[in-house]
Amino acid sequence: MFFDSSLSWNDILFLLDGAIVTIAITLASVALGTILGVLFGLVRAGALWWISWPLGGALDIFRSVPLLIQLVLFNSFNSMFRLHWSPYVIACICLGIYTAAFCTELVRSGVLAVPPATRRAARSLGMSWWQEVVSITLPMATRIVFPSWIGLSLGVMKDTSLVLWIGIIELLRSSQIITSRVQEPLLILTITGLIYFLMSFPIARLGAHLERRWQIQ
């Protein structure tokens, strides 16, 4: 079937190039989103209500509006402010903030799950707030939320497919480009799906495994 069709090895390579773009955007967005998420999450968990609530409300907007619309809006800043940013930058910032919106609540729940008595014990040894957070709260919270964080990252990976709308040629868009030439949509889409599946499934399994293992302990 492979060789009957006019699908060539080059086409597969083209798809894999798209997959690399998908992975690159995912890594950049997840990195940005996690850094912001940890900062915001600490604020959400620790700050006074009049800082924590507005921040939570603002981030909730990014979780309640379709990502596609967010991308279009971000992209329109380009022409509005004459920014000349590349679509890649826009995609990573937009997806990064979107990731941060989810990551913040993850971090918050993780931090709140660390027993206050344990945190107090650390402070009683003379650690500063920051030392305590870095060596006790964040490591403990990480174990609690790591499986969910993997889920979040995989979600972002799947959501990167939307950036084709602002003109980035990632995995899904590559498959469309090939289809327009080869005219075998079902075959090409199935291969594309397989690539997505191979990128996501093993990591998802690892996450589920860790979740089970850490629950037992």
Binding site: I61, S64, V65, P66, L67, L68, I69, Q70, V72, L73, N75, S76, F77, S79, M80, F81, R82, L154, K158, D159, T160, S161, L162, L164, W165, L172, Q176, T179, Q183, E184, P185, L186, L189, T190, T192, G193, Y196, F197, S200, F201, A204
Partner: protein, 220 residues
Amino acid sequence: MSYTFQWRPVLRSLPEMLWGASVTLEIAIMAMSVGTALAILLALAKRSNLKILSRLAGIWIEVARNTPALFQIYWIYFGLGSLGIGIEPYSALVFGITFNNAGYLAETFRGGFSAVPEAQIRAARSLGMGAVPTLWHIVLPQMLRVTFPALTNQMVWSILMTSLGAVVGLTSDLTGVTQQLNVVTYRTFEYFFVSACLYYVMSKICTIFARLLAWRLFRY
């Protein structure tokens, strides 16, 4: 900044956009209700002793969860189209979201099943209740309570996912209508900003409604 906002034309098109929002809700509700029903079947199939049945359910669940929703919609729209099964963007979107919902919710329900103690099922069966009445009267109500937050989330997701219809050329839902107006006027920011607000309101109404419902339903 040399950009001047023009909100008037957007406000004039508001009725059109609201109409689009109603289509969005219609799609989301349809995909959610059918998706939930399918998810229960999938969760049951996954537990079944019949190898093929549980294998097939497993494939459905894993594909739905491990590939992008947009990919699933593409596959239905372009893939089935190429098989000679002509399909509208509207149906492709509904089927796509339903497929996706079913996969995610099946996982939720699988967890929900294990939250109902085996002993209760045995107790119900020992009273002479059949398998289906036991499922309907004993298992599902308890499961609903455990899985309700996840169901609410999935409903919000469904609303947000409908925006993907525009990518396969749907013009009647909120994003589709907005895109149509945008193509004519090029007031991208204004139109999509209003559209974002409408999505936000829909998501919030959905969450608030779910909260009220949960409060009414789970008083025990």
